[in-house]
């Protein structure tokens, strides 16, 4: 743990990343109080930036700045929840499949099948049969996130279980369950954490992409949907409206993803000791 803090403190980049995340988290949490309007309230369409509307209004008159703040909520929340759920499942299944070969084989075959599912038909299916909204989207991302997480944890466990400390534990009579929970599980935490950050970032990009294509929930307030309606707007390429409508949500997505990347990168250095060795020697 102290190594973690030391690594983070030592890494200025991680601090920068965390600071940006904290800022967005703050904005997201306080969105209702910070935003000047209800993002669903409609005023005059396509107003330029004024004091009342810092970024102007969109094609049906909703305040873009308020949309942006609520978008932070949506994007951060969906990223966090999807990544956390995927990791939780991945950790459990990865531990089991890494340790028990028979069960492991079966689980990995299921993983293979899930990895082979094509995304577009699946999301169309889900849009057709499930109720629209946040939960459906989380479900979709977890569906594709858990196989990756499971694979990662499993390969880690496969190497770890042959290490001396595991043999030692077994020799002194520790049960399988104890080995799993007290030794292997903690050892897998670092890479799971790193993977969590990466998945978080991946979901934010994927969600914005899906919304951009119009395949998410078009009534949701996310950065991706803001960009979707901006792209559809007839004069988006022939006028200057993009400066206030395209740049802010795009920049927000970029900054959050960058922040996560920086944090993830620093964590990777902590989680993977080999990298530190080279540094210490030079």
């Amino acid at each position: 743990m102290s190594r973690l803090l030391e690594a983070i403190r030592g890494q200025k980049l991680a601090l920068v990343g965390l600071a940006m995340l904290a800022l967005f988290g703050f904005l997201a949490a306080l969105a209702p109080s910070l935003s000047p309007h209800d993002p669903e309230e409609m005023y005059t369409p396509m107003l330029p930036p004024t004091q009342l509307h810092p970024l102007g209004t969109n094609d049906i008159g909703q305040d873009i700045f308020s949309e942006l703040l609520y978008g932070a909520r949506f994007s951060l929340l969906i990223g966090f929840l999807s990544a956390a759920t995927s990791m939780a499942i991945g950790l459990c299944l990865g531990l089991i499949s890494g340790y028990c070969d028979g069960l492991g084989f079966a689980i990995m075959r299921v993983v293979d099948v899930f990895l082979a599912i094509p995304r577009f038909p699946l999301i169309i299916l889900m849009a057709a049969f499930l109720r629209p909204g946040f939960r459906t989207l989380v479900f979709f991302f977890v569906l594709f996130g858990w196989p990756r997480a499971t694979r990662l944890v499993r390969s880690w466990i496969l190497t770890e279980r042959n290490r001396e400390y595991v043999d030692a534990a077994r020799m002194i009579g520790a049960s399988d369950l104890r080995i799993l929970s007290h030794h292997l599980l903690p050892s897998a935490i670092p890479i799971t954490l790193v993977r969590f950050i990466m998945e978080f970032q991946h979901v934010i990009l994927a969600e914005s992409g899906l919304s951009f294509l119009g395949m998410g929930d078009p009534t949701a307030k996310s950065w991706g949907t803001i960009l979707h309606y901006a792209f559809e707007y007839p004069t988006i390429f022939i006028s200057d409206v993009w400066v206030r409508w395209v740049v802010p949500p795009g920049a927000c997505i970029t900054l959050v993803v960058l922040a996560l990347t920086l944090v993830g990168f620093s964590l990777e250095e902590w989680a993977n000791p080999r990298l530190n060795r080279a540094w210490r020697r030079t």
Binding site: E40, A127, P218, P234
Partner: protein
């Protein structure tokens, strides 16, 4: 060492692949395009017109995609017996025609001296053959022929007589004005016309010949047919190509005209002031509807439907969502300004208080509905949702792609749905006012509809159609929302003969790509 070498080999192979791909992208990316045409004679310089487009299928009468633009592409190569300009019906392959008293027998006198692209002469045999061939073969999109045509006779080389099974008031518009005439000498040996996509499949009598077709790039390149029976076209080379943003393409000069409708009025407003561009407006013959699932309570009560009509502010939708790019729709669906239009229909003023009153009277309590829509109308859905929530109806918007929406509508598995369609210059689509759903059953309506189809007398027919609209407005199986307007923004220096065809091109296609535009007029 080993790896570096491997990298080198891989890089070289990939570079070779790249070069060969690029070099291989020569003419005729599909096996069906004809070879590159020769350079035209030096003076005057060839007029090339580039227009925004998309892939609408190989432009043979069977391989084209069935929708409007696919037909248009085919119409540049194939002709019909009659055609239309901005005033109305004009003679085309047929110089003249005559209908018998009862409307069941039509005699066509064909234009003489017309030649197919391959030089062979066009005769009445081809016309008779076309009627028979289209009747038989699948996906000709003229299946109605089977019921309507009894037989076709060739009187002489330039006269054809068509016998109908029963009088059809729209025969001239639907069939004579829309059916592409096929060359008998080519198609008589074709068994599966849908799969026939060689260069022979696009031999017609039309003003253009197909020089190139690229499916993935949505590109059509046509060259003028110098022997066209109405004279050589003013445009030597006509190109349609896919662009991601038509407004941008027009502004940068990549294309010479661009077409907009509805919400895209913003692009028109932005482009029109440009000194080198002009714009004209035309009717879209399109309507956006809020469809009620009439078979499902509480929609089975007409009062409930009327309450919703009072609750939804249609002019606000027109203002807020389309920014003035549409007009509030005729409750009777028929496009305003056409000869069928009924201007005196009952109205439902925007009055949320009244709506609430009616709902209270009905005593339904808490009502919660789903509103089905495709992504393109999510904005309209948001407004309707807000309006309905004002009067105490909970709405959940469900957005899905067209295939899903169509499926659900056909099954009758929905509450409210937003869906629109074109083709309302004519009446066929109104057979079911809730198209594509078929949830509305009204005997009077069906009887009226069927009667007007047979009525040859214009006055009588019009009265029937007026009554049809009244039924829809009173009974409200759908609440029509708006009719988009349409524009053509073009560079007059390249071509300034653009116009909107009366009643839409051929079967009612609203876009101004009438082949007459490209001819010397």
């Amino acid at each position: 060492m080993r790896i570096v070498k491997r990298k080198q080999i891989v890089c070289t192979l990939l570079a070779l692949l790249l070069v060969s791909l690029v070099a291989g992208c020569g003419p005729a990316p599909t096996p069906t395009a004809t070879p590159v045409p020769e350079e035209p004679t030096p003076t005057p310089p060839p007029v090339t017109l580039t227009l925004p487009g998309d892939d609408w299928g190989y432009p043979s009468p069977f391989a084209r995609y069935p929708r409007g633009p696919g037909y248009i592409q085919m119409s540049f190569l194939f002709d019909t017996l009659a055609w239309k300009d901005e005033e109305g019906v004009i003679p085309w392959l047929a110089d003249d025609w005559e209908a018998s008293e009862d409307g069941a027998k039509w005699t066509f006198k064909l234009h003489e001296g017309v030649k197919w692209h391959d030089g062979k002469p066009f005769t009445a045999e081809d016309v008779a053959f076309t009627f028979d061939y289209l009747k038989e073969h699948i996906a000709s999109w003229f299946e109605a022929l089977k019921e309507q045509i009894e037989k076709v006779e060739v009187k002489d080389e330039h006269t054809v007589v068509v016998y109908l099974t029963k009088p059809a008031a729209d025969f001239l518009a639907d069939i004579a004005g829309a059916m592409p005439i096929l060359p008998k000498h080519i198609w008589e040996s074709v068994e599966d016309p849908k799969k026939f996509t060689g260069p022979e499949a696009v031999i017609g009598t039309g003003p253009f010949k197909l020089a190139e077709y690229s499916k993935e790039e949505g590109r059509y390149v046509y060259e003028a047919n110098p022997d066209f029976f109405k004279g050589k076209p003013a445009v030597d080379c006509l190109v349609y190509t896919k662009v991601s943003d038509a407004a941008l393409a027009l502004k940068t000069g990549t294309v010479d005209a661009a077409f907009f409708w509805g919400k895209e009025i913003e692009a028109v407003k932005e482009l029109e002031p440009e000194p080198n561009l002009e714009a004209i407006e035309g009717p879209s013959f399109w309507v956006l509807k809020l469809i009620f699932n009439v078979g499902r309570p509480p929609f089975d009560k007409v009062e409930f439907r009327r309450a919703i009509a009072h609750a939804v502010d249609r002019s606000k939708i027109v203002e807020q969502v389309t920014h003035g790019g549409a007009i509030v729709a005729n409750l009777g669906i028929v496009y305003p300004g056409t000869s069928w239009y009924n201007p005196e229909l009952p109205a439902y003023e925007y009055d949320p208080a009244k709506a609430r009153e009616i709902l209270d009277e009905l005593g339904l309590g808490e009502v919660s509905l789903t509103l089905l829509t495709t992504g393109g109308f999510a904005r309209e859905a948001e407004l309707i949702k807000a309006d309905l929530e004002e009067v105490g109806i909970e709405v959940e918007v469900k957005s899905a792609d067209w295939g899903t929406v169509d499926g659900l509508l056909k099954e009758g598995n929905f509450d409210l749905a937003i869906s629109g369609h074109g083709g309302i210059a004519q009446l066929h689509i109104m057979r079911s006012p809730t198209w594509p759903a078929t949830v509305y059953k009204n005997e009077e309506y069906d009887r009226l509809f069927e009667e007007q189809e047979r009525t040859m007398d214009e006055e009588k027919r019009r009265n029937l159609v007026l009554r049809l609209q009244e039924v829809i407005a009173e009974d409200l199986p759908v609440l029509t929302l708006y009719h988009p307007k349409m524009w053509c923004v073009y560079d007059p220096a390249k071509l300034d003969t653009w116009f909107y065809t009366k009643g839409g091109v051929s079967i009612g296609i609203p876009i101004p790509h009438n082949k007459l535009v490209f001819l010397e007029r």
